[in-house]
Amino acid sequence: MSILQVRELTKVYGKDDAQVTALDHVPFSVEKGEFVAIVGASGSGKSTLMHLIGGVDRPTSGSVTVDGMDIFSLNESNLAIFRRRNVGLIYQFYNLIPTLTAEENVILPHLLDKRRPDPKKLAEMLDILGLANRKDHLPGQLSGGQQQRVSIGRALINDPAVVLADEPTGNLDSQKSRSIMELLKLFNRQYNQTLLLITHDEKIALQASRIITLEDGRIKRDEAVRA
């Protein structure tokens, strides 16, 4: 069974004359361990799709099933709990909590669950992220690339069913972009982590195993990338 199933997902913003259909009956599914890039011009509905799959927004119609759970059948608190355990979100602007240290930001989903992560696993994670000696720094004391690593760690710490990354390299220079992409690919290959990456950068998209192209809220193309 697919780890992620999107059925007839529709999102309409605004009312009456000002209505904008951001997503128009979008269907697709993703298998475990897939690395999918979602590309499209600005306004094509990429970010809306990501927010819906991530469960931070609710659709006008349609459904999203993550690991067998129809996420919009959950009430708000249960959705929040589901999200902290099964979905990892990575944003362009990192979106870290400025008052928490790098390590605390990474384990935030655990902390919200009133759990402590396995120290060995955390140490390994920080090591992979290259943050081992920066774990007590506040986000403000880190570079953009390091901040993005923290947010990747936060998205992955729970072994989520799906990781969603929205332009994760959009705010970084090319060298840092490359290292972030390497990191994401590493998690994808080594830990069989399902990854959805939203980008408008074709070069980045080509690193995925499959590319879905959105245009005006619909899927225009859905093709595998020949490695």
Binding site: V56, V87, P109, L112, N171
Partner: protein
């Protein structure tokens, strides 16, 4: 292990140290005021216990309890506005952060808890500190109060109790202050917390809340603000309109301060006037009286007058009063106002009359004043009576040179009136008798009361001398004991006492207003600085299109000035109305008109602008640093 919600609250407080301190100061002041008010009530009750004894204290203590309840609820409502504003600012600043937390899987309850934990941590520091400060204020206040009450105690020494204000460490009232403060803080935190928790994650991340309200109501600036303040004025007016809620709290805090200032100031000036009226109008240092309780006449009082006048450097105004006569209630010359006043007492059949003879010198003066020869009978056509609950001064009789027939102890007395004197013409000593419906000056009254108004350099010594003189006079004849009452009032000391009482109340009233204003000030400062931070991006954009830092500062200054003007616009009329209402509610006399103390609104205006100036300086200080591009690019980042 500390829950993450508590960690987040604590780290937020640590990071935003300046505002945390400001909020703590605000809460501390509120707690201090609540503690102090309850403490003063406890001291007041103790002071009364000293004065009236254990048995009677309960009948008076309710006054103190009510007063502290009223003051307490004013403080609490002002505190809720101010403290919840602090929480609201802190929560709305972090709306985006809450959105991130939600997207990472935080529930509403967890967001709510973060803000409530903040309240808890602030309380842990601010409440004990506030209680200590409150106790200090109480100690200081009671010490000042006790010093000011000293002249009163001097007067009270010949009676039973004395009145002392002492610092009372009343545990129940401290506990009550503690609970009320905690309740206030949590209540103040709860509503902003609930609002923040409700914002959907997606909106919080995108921060579309503000933008939405922009769409609904496009901020429009009055042409006036543009005309007065130029382009910066337009921008300032717009941003005030947009971030209405931050400014609303600031305007509310300032308005409350203005209203309280005016009410307290009004009360103060009214009280000073009343006190002046009650005592200081008698231009005498000491008032001595001897009264026969029965209808019997006093024996020769000339000897007493001589002895009193013999006191060094002393001048006397002597009045001999005969209070045995009555005027029948059906006398045709009685005015309708007097009839109304009399009907309060269930229509008596006759009115009390005072026949008065001043000493020879002052009698001659009165006759000259009325333009009649010495030996004439003069109607004092002025009385002060309660009419419909108000003390009113009016003419009791219509004068037409008539002959009045008075009912006396033996046979009726016919008095042919030669002249009249009305209110304004009267010497104050004669006006002293105005509680009699009818007062008539005659050539030679046989007195059953004698009054001496003395001007003397040492009123205390004179009063003592007079009192002992009267005592020996009364005690000389055992038959007289119990039939006579006498006293020598040291008016100068009473005046001193009222002055210090007035001063005492003034200090408390202004202390109260001052502390409330301080609480308001902390809120205003935190509102402004939070606003500057929230708008960093807006300022950067303005700079990038070529607005100078000076212009931005000007814009900020204008925002403060406009808020100040707005609070004055609400506060001055509201405060003046409240001032008038307290005047009408408290005053029983119409002897003096309601005089609007013009200096008060001027002081209020000056105060509000000083606050606006301080906050602007503070906000301008926050502006420095930060490159334009960074701020624009990272404006929506973290």
């Amino acid at each position: 292990m500390r829950p993450i919600t508590a960690t987040l609250a604590l780290s937020q407080l640590r990071q935003n140290r300046k505002r945390t301190i400001l909020t703590i100061v605000g809460i501390m002041l509120s707690v201090a005021m609540i503690t102090a008010v309850f403490g003063f009530a406890a001291s007041g009750i103790e002071a009364l216990r000293g004065l009236v004894g254990d048995q009677h204290v309960h009948s008076y203590s309710s006054v103190f309890i009510w007063m502290s309840a009223i003051f307490g609820s004013i403080i609490i409502s002002a505190s809720v506005i101010v403290i919840s504003n602090a929480f609201r600012i802190s929560a709305s600043e972090r709306l985006r952060q809450f959105g991130i937390l939600k997207s990472v899987g935080a529930t509403r309850r967890q967001i709510l808890k973060i803000v409530l934990y903040e309240g808890l941590y602030l309380s842990l520091i601010a409440i004990p500190a506030g209680i200590i400060v409150g106790l200090l204020v109480e100690w200081l206040g009671t010490s000042i109060g006790d010093t000011l009450l000293a002249p009163m105690n001097k007067l009270l020494t010949n009676t039973e109790g004395i009145i002392r204000m002492q610092f009372v460490l009343n545990l129940p009232s401290i506990l009550l202050a503690l609970c009320l403060s905690f309740f206030t803080i949590m209540l103040s935190a709860f509503f902003p917390a609930r609002t923040a928790a409700k914002v959907p994650a997606i909106e919080a991340i995108r921060l579309t809340r503000d933008i939405k309200s922009d769409k609904n109501r496009k901020p429009r600036a009055h042409r006036l603000s543009r005309l007065l303040f130029g382009f910066e004025g337009t921008l300032a007016a717009k941003s005030i309109r947009r971030s209405k809620r931050s400014y609303r709290a600031m305007v509310a805090a300032l308005t409350i301060s203005i209203v309280l200032f005016l009410v307290c100031g009004g009360l103060d000036s009214q009280m000073t006037m009343t006190m002046n009226q009650a005592y200081m109008n008698i231009d005498a240092d000491s008032v001595v009286y001897l009264t026969s309780k029965e209808q019997t006449l006093l024996p020769q009082t000339d000897e007493l007058t001589e002895k009193l006048a013999a006191y060094p450097d002393t001048q006397l105004y002597t009045l001999r009063v005969d209070k045995r006569y009555h005027l029948p209630a059906d006398d045709p010359s009685i005015t309708s106002l007097l009839q109304t006043a009399m009907s309060n007492d269930g229509m008596p059949t006759s009115l009390r009359v005072a026949l008065v003879t001043p000493d020879a010198e002052h009698y001659a003066e009165l006759c000259r004043l009325a333009d009649v020869p010495v030996g004439s009978t003069i109607l004092i056509n002025s009385t002060r009576q309660l009419v419909e609950g108000k003390s009113v001064e009016f003419q009791p009789l219509t004068y037409s040179g008539q002959t009045l027939t008075l009912e006396g102890p033996e046979q009726p007395l016919s008095l042919s009136l030669d002249a009249q004197l009305t209110g304004a013409q009267l010497p104050q000593e004669v006006a002293y008798l105005s509680n009699y419906p009818v007062t008539i000056v005659v050539a030679d009254a046989s007195p059953n009361q004698c009054l001496w108004f003395a001007k003397t350099p040492d009123s205390e010594a004179f009063s003592k001398y007079a009192w002992e003189l009267l005592q020996s006079y009364v005690d000389a004849d055992t038959a007289k004991t119990g039939q006579y009452s006498y006293n020598a009032e040291d008016i100068t000391s009473i005046t001193d006492m009222t002055r210090s009482l007035t001063k005492l109340i003034t200090i408390f009233l202004y202390g109260f207003v001052g502390m409330l204003s301080l609480i308001g000030l902390t809120s205003v400062i935190s509102a402004i600085s939070a606003n500057v931070q929230l708008r960093a991006r807006e300022f950067a954009v303005l700079k990038s299109v070529g607005m100078t830092e000076r212009s931005i500062r000007r814009m900020l200054a204008l925002e403060s000035v406009m808020s100040a003007l707005k609070s004055l616009l609400y506060g001055l009329p509201l405060g003046s109305a409240a001032m008038y209402l307290t005047y009408t509610a408290l005053t029983q006399q119409d002897g003096f008109q309601f005089v609007y103390p013009l200096s008060l609104p001027l002081e209020a205006i000056a105060g509000v602008f000083v606050i606006a100036l301080i906050t602007t300086q503070y906000a301008a200080g926050k502006l420095r640093g930060g490159s334009i591009i960074d701020t624009i690019r990272m404006g929506d980042g973290v």
